[in-house]
């Protein structure tokens, strides 16, 4: 109680100095919180966008598929996988897919493509590619059962750059050539262009096509087998939990990949972007720490005589050390409360109204994924607690040397100090 009283009065003794130092700590924390909030939100949006561009929060694949990407690693029976995934409350959808490389030809020209065999009824629910807002022309795929004529070529849905390259328009006939699973000679099948999409991602717009799953399975002689079951979640943060649960519960011969592994390039780009933010904040924290160190050291040097007297009348070195650290702690806690207040205020503003990044679209492109419109702030209690602890800990660490210095004073010399 005595130490607390002395510490508090020492903090308010030099009001201007304490306000400047505490203000620096508060602003640093507030900046950290709002930057983390905006960064986490934009990264989560990018991840969601990447996940919805033909991937999933969690992918269940044949063991080894991620490495080889060949039809040697298949999910033999997707139905139990889909059924188990759908039982999990965090799961919003589980869709089967076949992914294979192929060649799309018009007779006059051809282009290599990545073919995605999808369920036309389920895919629009989980895929940004299939979403109406990404559709440049036409319609999405129809299930084979809904075709007007039995022997009519199946629908194909292609990227706008590919359409331009091959000079394909809606209703045009095209041939897709793929290698079946049994290693026999390439199989070709005719398709009619049903729709054209534009995602803004070159890789997709130039070389991605979607066809009905059953049609592709038949062409590849896969039977019911698929290359992946894409599991979509209601909340990105549940990824690890669902991936873990599926990995434990599904039979062997399957690999369960969270999006961080399935979309490694995107994930690493997000991590790198985070690292840049942390580096910048690290520099701000270093400057803040030097400021606190300077303030505390100045405070201790100024009170050399006072500390000498306190030692002379029986104050122990540990008590002096504790006094200086308590002063720093009080300053840090007050600053943290103010910093949290400012940070949360800015967060609420950003979370409510968002920030228009239309003009900054170039800056919000990671691994080909471009964010558009507005970004918001997403701040969890854990982030607030974590960074508050970091700030308070840095304040205490930067005060250790000044506190130690106070304990090294010799009472006789300190009392003479002017």
């Amino acid at each position: 109680m005595l130490i607390l009283k002395l510490a508090w009065r020492s903090v308010i003794r030099h009001k201007r100095r304490s306000i400047i130092t505490g203000g620096a700590v508060a602003v640093s924390l507030a900046m950290m919180l709002i930057f983390i909030g905006i960064g986490d939100d934009s990264h989560a949006r990018m991840a969601e966008l990447g996940i919805r561009m033909g991937a999933g929060h969690v992918l269940v694949q044949g063991k080894g598929y991620q490495k080889d990407q060949t039809l040697d690693h298949l999910v033999d029976d997707p139905d139990p996988v889909i059924a188990r995934a759908r039982q999990l409350p965090q799961v919003s959808a589980a869709v089967p897919r076949v992914r294979v490389s192929g060649l799309l030809s018009t007779g006059e020209s051809s282009a290599p493509v990545l073919v995605s065999g999808v369920d036309p009824r389920l895919e629009p629910v989980v895929s940004e590619i299939a979403a109406p807002k990404r559709r440049v022309a036409g319609h999405y795929l129809r299930p084979p059962g809904e075709m007007k004529f039995k022997n009519q070529p199946a629908d194909i849905y292609i990227g706008q750059e590919l359409a331009r390259t091959l000079d394909l328009k809606l209703g045009d006939r095209t041939v897709l050539i793929v290698s079946p699973v049994n290693g026999s000679s390439p199989a070709s099948a005719a398709f009619l262009v049903r729709g054209i999409f534009g995602t803004g991602i070159d890789e997709l717009d130039q070389g991605w096509v979607e066809v009905p799953l059953q049609t592709l399975q038949r062409q590849l002689e896969l039977g019911r087998r698929v290359t992946q079951v894409a599991v979509h979640l209601r909340d990105l943060d549940d990824t690890a939990g669902v991936a873990g649960a599926l990995a434990r519960e599904l039979p062997g011969g399957l690999e369960v990949l969270p999006w961080q592994e399935a979309l490694r390039e995107l994930y690493e780009a997000i991590v790198l972007d985070d690292a840049g933010l942390y580096l910048m904040m690290g520099i701000i924290f270093v400057i803040m720490t030097i400021g606190i160190f300077n303030t505390m050291l100045m405070s201790v040097v100024e009170r050399t005589r006072e500390f000498g007297v306190m030692m002379a009348i029986g104050t122990g070195k540990g008590q002096l050390f504790g006094l200086v650290l308590t002063e720093a702690l009080l300053l840090a806690l007050i600053a943290a409360v103010i910093g949290i207040g400012i940070g949360l205020g800015l967060h609420l503003l950003a979370a409510t109204y968002g920030i228009d990044i239309t003009a900054l679209a170039e800056d919000y492109q990671i691994a080909g994924i471009v964010l558009e419109g507005r970004i918001y702030s997403r701040l969890g209690a854990a982030s607030v607690v974590r960074w508050t602890i970091v700030i308070v800990a840095l304040t205490l660490i930067s005060s250790i040397y000044p506190a130690l210095r106070s304990t090294r004073l010799q009472p006789v010399e300190a009392i003479r100090h002017v």
């Binding site: 009065r9 007297v309 002379a312």
Partner: protein
């Protein structure tokens, strides 16, 4: 005051006490091997000109500094054998200090300054309150309990310092030139307060001064010169240096 004194009521017993300060490459002797005994209840003054060794001797007796040679027992305990933590405990529990420049803790009020050592000792709140109020009344500071040091005159600050020095009921109170920063009237009043505490409460005082008016109030005058005791007088009788008072 405490009865835990050494044999025959001896509180301070210094033998062949030497203190040498090193200034650059030069050794400067401040005390040259003096012997000193202070008994319980004494009101003694260390007299001598500036540089005679008064403050050095008080610092050694007060466990603020260590002798270069010789031994010094306070309250029967050899300070030379104590670690810094034990010395701090010694200062907290057995020795009170009054400094020339008052040296109150600036962020604490009069009451809190006087209470400070009791808080360090962990004395219960009721006992603290009673003792501090009693002391502040004794030194004539009723009504000024909640004032900070800068709101007090020099004489008032030094009274707070006296209250602080005796609050823990130490075996010995050391005062280094306690009236040097006070006008003569205030200085005399302060010495009278200390004298009254000595007579009424049996507090043992050892203080330094070169002010003849202050020295006149002491029972015993220990005259220092060049780090040695050259005279030791008690009740007006001159005693040869080195002899017991």
């Amino acid at each position: 005051m405490s009865d835990a004194t050494g044999h025959d009521g001896v509180i301070v017993e210094a033998q062949q006490l030497k203190k040498v300060y090193r200034q650059g490459t030069v050794d400067v002797p401040a005390l040259r091997g003096l012997d000193l005994t202070i008994r319980k209840g004494e009101f003694s003054v260390l007299a001598g000109s500036s540089g005679s060794g008064k403050t050095t001797l008080l610092n050694l007796v007060g466990a603020l500094d260590r002798p270069t040679e010789g031994s010094i027992l306070v309250d029967g305990r050899d300070l030379a054998r104590m670690g810094s933590r034990e010395l701090a405990q010694m200062r907290l529990r057995r020795i009170g200090f009054v400094f020339q420049a008052f040296n109150l803790v600036p962020v604490l009020t009069s009451y809190e300054n006087a209470e400070y050592v009791l808080l360090l000792q962990g004395v219960a709140i009721e006992q603290r309150r009673k003792r501090v109020n009693d002391l502040l009344q004794l030194v004539g500071l009723e009504g000024l309990e909640h004032r900070r040091p800068w709101e007090l005159s020099g004489g008032q600050q030094q009274r707070v310092a006296v209250a602080r020095a005796i609050a823990a009921e130490p075996a010995l109170v050391l005062a280094d030139e306690p009236t040097a920063n006070l006008d003569s009237k205030t200085g005399t009043e302060l010495i009278q307060i200390m004298r009254r505490l000595n007579q009424e409460r049996g507090v043992t005082f050892l203080f330094s001064s070169h002010d003849p008016k202050v020295i006149d109030h002491a029972d015993r005058v220990i005259q220092l010169q060049d780090g040695l005791i050259i005279a030791d007088s008690a009740n007006g009788d001159r005693v040869t240096a080195g002899q017991e008072a």
